[in-house]
Structures are given as C-alpha cells and as structure tokens.
Symmetry: C2
Subunit: 231 residues, 2 copies
Amino acid sequence: MTATLDQRIRGDISARIHSGEWPPGTRIPYETELAAHYGCARATVSKAMETLARAGLIERRRKAGSFVARPHSQSAVLEVPDLASVAAAKGETYRWQRNRLAALAAGEAPDIAGIAGAALAVEGVHFADDLPFAIEERWISLAAVPGCADEDFTGTAPGTWLLGHVPWTHARHRIRAVAASAAEARRLAIRPGTACLSLERWTWRARDYVTYVRQLFPGDRHDLIADFDPS
Amino acid sequence: MTATLDQRIRGDISARIHSGEWPPGTRIPYETELAAHYGCARATVSKAMETLARAGLIERRRKAGSFVARPHSQSAVLEVPDLASVAAAKGETYRWQRNRLAALAAGEAPDIAGIAGAALAVEGVHFADDLPFAIEERWISLAAVPGCADEDFTGTAPGTWLLGHVPWTHARHRIRAVAASAAEARRLAIRPGTACLSLERWTWRARDYVTYVRQLFPGDRHDLIADFDPS
DNA sequence: CAGTGGTCTAGACCACCTT
DNA sequence: AGGTGGTCTAGACCACTGT
C-alpha cells in the first residue's frame, strides 16, 4: 500500500491531469514548489517529472516550467511475439514446416528485402493444431549474420533462431490487408482472394541490415492485439 | 558532441550487448564497480541502469546483480494518428463526412462496443482527395463524456474531437484483415469482398469506459507503419 | 546473514531560455 | 540577467534475496 515518494508525486499529478482538473497547457508548479510541498529533495520531484515527460503527459521547458501536454496521437505498443508462443498461449500445438532454403549470391534477393549482398532465403509454413495459419518468406543478410549459414531451419523457425542469436537495435513493421494469391491460398488451405493480414518486418543491428520477413495470416485465423497504458 | 555521463554509461553497456560481447545471461559489473570505473557516484550509474532495464536490455535482481536480458519478443510502438494528420502528411486534402448520428438509450449499443448505459452512435466516411479511404463506426459512452451530447460531428470527426477533450488512460487495439461486406464496399467505392484492414479501438479513462471505434480501410489505400528503437 | 539494487537527501553547478 | 530544468555528488538507509 505504501508507494515510494516518487510514485506518489507521479500519481498525484497524473490524477490531476486525467481528471481534467489540469487541462492541456496548464503550468505545473515549479520543481522547487513541489519539493517544498512534499517536503522532499528536488531530485525526487525531478525524477517523477522526468518519468511523466517521457510518458508524454507533460512537457518541460527550461526557464518556463513544466506544462500539461496536449495529446496528439493514439499510440500503442504492439507486441509481435514468436508465433510459437502465440500458439502455446492458446493451448494449440505448434509446428513449423520449412519448404525452401537457398543461398543467394549478391543481387539475387528481391528489392523489397533490401539486401544488396549475399543472402539466405527461407520459406515455410506455421501450423497451429495442424492447420496452417501463416506462411513466411524471409531473407537474411549473410554479411550481418554469418552464423546462419550452418542452420537448415527445419527444427526451429528462423524468427525464433534469430531472436536468440542476433540482438537487433531497430525494426520497422508494415501491416496491410491483402487478398491471397492462388499460390498463397494453396499453402494456407484457403480460397484465393481471401482477405489476409500481411506483416512485414525489416530489422537492423546498429547500421547493418539483418533481415526482411513477410508473414501472411488468413484474416480469420489471426489478429493483432495491442494494449497501451501511458506511464 | 559531449554527452552526459549517464548517456555515456548507457551507450557503453548497450554497445557491448549489441555487439555480442556480452551475450544474454552475462552478469554486468556491480553498480559500485561501474561507479569506480567511471569515477562517478553510484546514483549516476543507477540511473543509467534503470533506463536500460526499462528498455528491456537488462534485468536487475537484488543481491545477484544485473544481467543481460534475453529478448523474448519483437515489440513496436504503433502510432495511430488522426486520419486528418495522415492525409495532411501525404499532401492530400482531407474531408470527413458524417452520415449517422443517434442518441441511444441504455442497452441499445451493440455488444462489441461494450457500453451498457446510454451512448452516442456516430458513423461517417473519411475522404482523401475526395476518395473514401476509411469508414468509421463509433459509440461514445454518454456517462463518460457528457459534453459530446452537444456535438453533431459534422465539422470534426469524433476521433479528433475526443482527442482534444477527453484525456484517456488506457486503450486496446485490435487489427484484422476482413473482406468488405456489400454495404461497406458501397460506401468505400470498392468491390465487395475486397481485403480491408479493420482497426478497432476500445478506450478507457481511469475506470470509465469511454468509446469504441471501428475503422475499415481498403487494403490498397492504407497501411500501418511502425518504427521501433529500444531506448 | 551479507550484499545487492532501490530510494532518497541536501547541496552544487551548468546550460539554456524567456523576459 | 535571472530563474528554470538537467545533471551530478557523496552519503545514507532500507528491502529484498541468494547463500
């Protein structure tokens, strides 16, 4: 029940903001004033304010003070977990089936993958309870991940393997709705033209480009859920 | 060019992690050791470590020390901005057309909206360059947002209005691919069955449930892009 | 029980911005 | 030019947890 002073200050201020008592633009008391009010050191107040600022609730300006921020967008933290974990969470049996594995020379990877040098191409299907629920096409840069040349990705999906072997620093996701092509529909055991969720991801490690992957889910077999609490 | 000591410590450690020099599970030097190494106070080291821990790069355990975390999922911060801003960013002219506005008594809102009491129902279409690119169905809880009873939402879309008037504390998003129904296709000027991106959002303010919205985008007219840097 | 992270203090100096 | 946030210090005590 007893929270830290930091949390208490943060809670008091965010409550005033969320209740509407301090509408956007309101100037929050100066750090020295708050420190006096709570009878604590300014560093403690400062830490609370820094957390609030990083959460986007307030804006801090030197000499002027701190102000209640005006919200500009709805954000969400989208978790894109391993497909194996997704199936496990639903109590379904998971299976990965690799179809294609090919070492490509420089320039052979498609433009969308963004790999100029040599690459490894992997294709396969993710099954939950023996029903295909995603097809995956992936290209891995051999320059960035030399170790993957020794893998055949029959046992573990490349995503799982990469997650454990290559620390990544930046990722870009693109989410779209597309109609399944004839070839895609056959592998997913659905009718051509079925609405599917397309998830593409480009991954970097520092400045090195690591991998591009495209996963295609039948619309009725997968969705993305994202919860978001500022703070 | 000269960064703060906090940033330098953080950068040194994350570089060692990302380079693979400290693989997952490695114990990071104790805070006292790092403080001695950098010739600074332990509080400075502690702040850097706290930031790294919140970014998910390390795990801290009392008495044991801090360890390089093992990544378990690919996260992404998905920005879901106002559709007006999206169109503006692309240099397109934006227009909102409200079709339906109805005050509903308790129990009349559909189950999916999750509103037990009285509600306001709003439907409309978002246009970019006079081409419909999203239809929107929304229900707003009148208990949580009494002020919206005076709005007719002809000039501003309800999302824009709510963003400026109701501070929210929690949101849940659900993203799916669906085929457009006949009615939806007509309003979007596409063929029935076209793959569309369905974005649903439930929004809370503290414990009060505020609004449910469903937006439907033709797959070829909209996609979601999310960039993510830990840190 | 010993030692780690977690929190806080009272003070200091600086960079920057508004007036 | 003055006052704000931004950073850092040297010390302290506490809570938790692994041995």
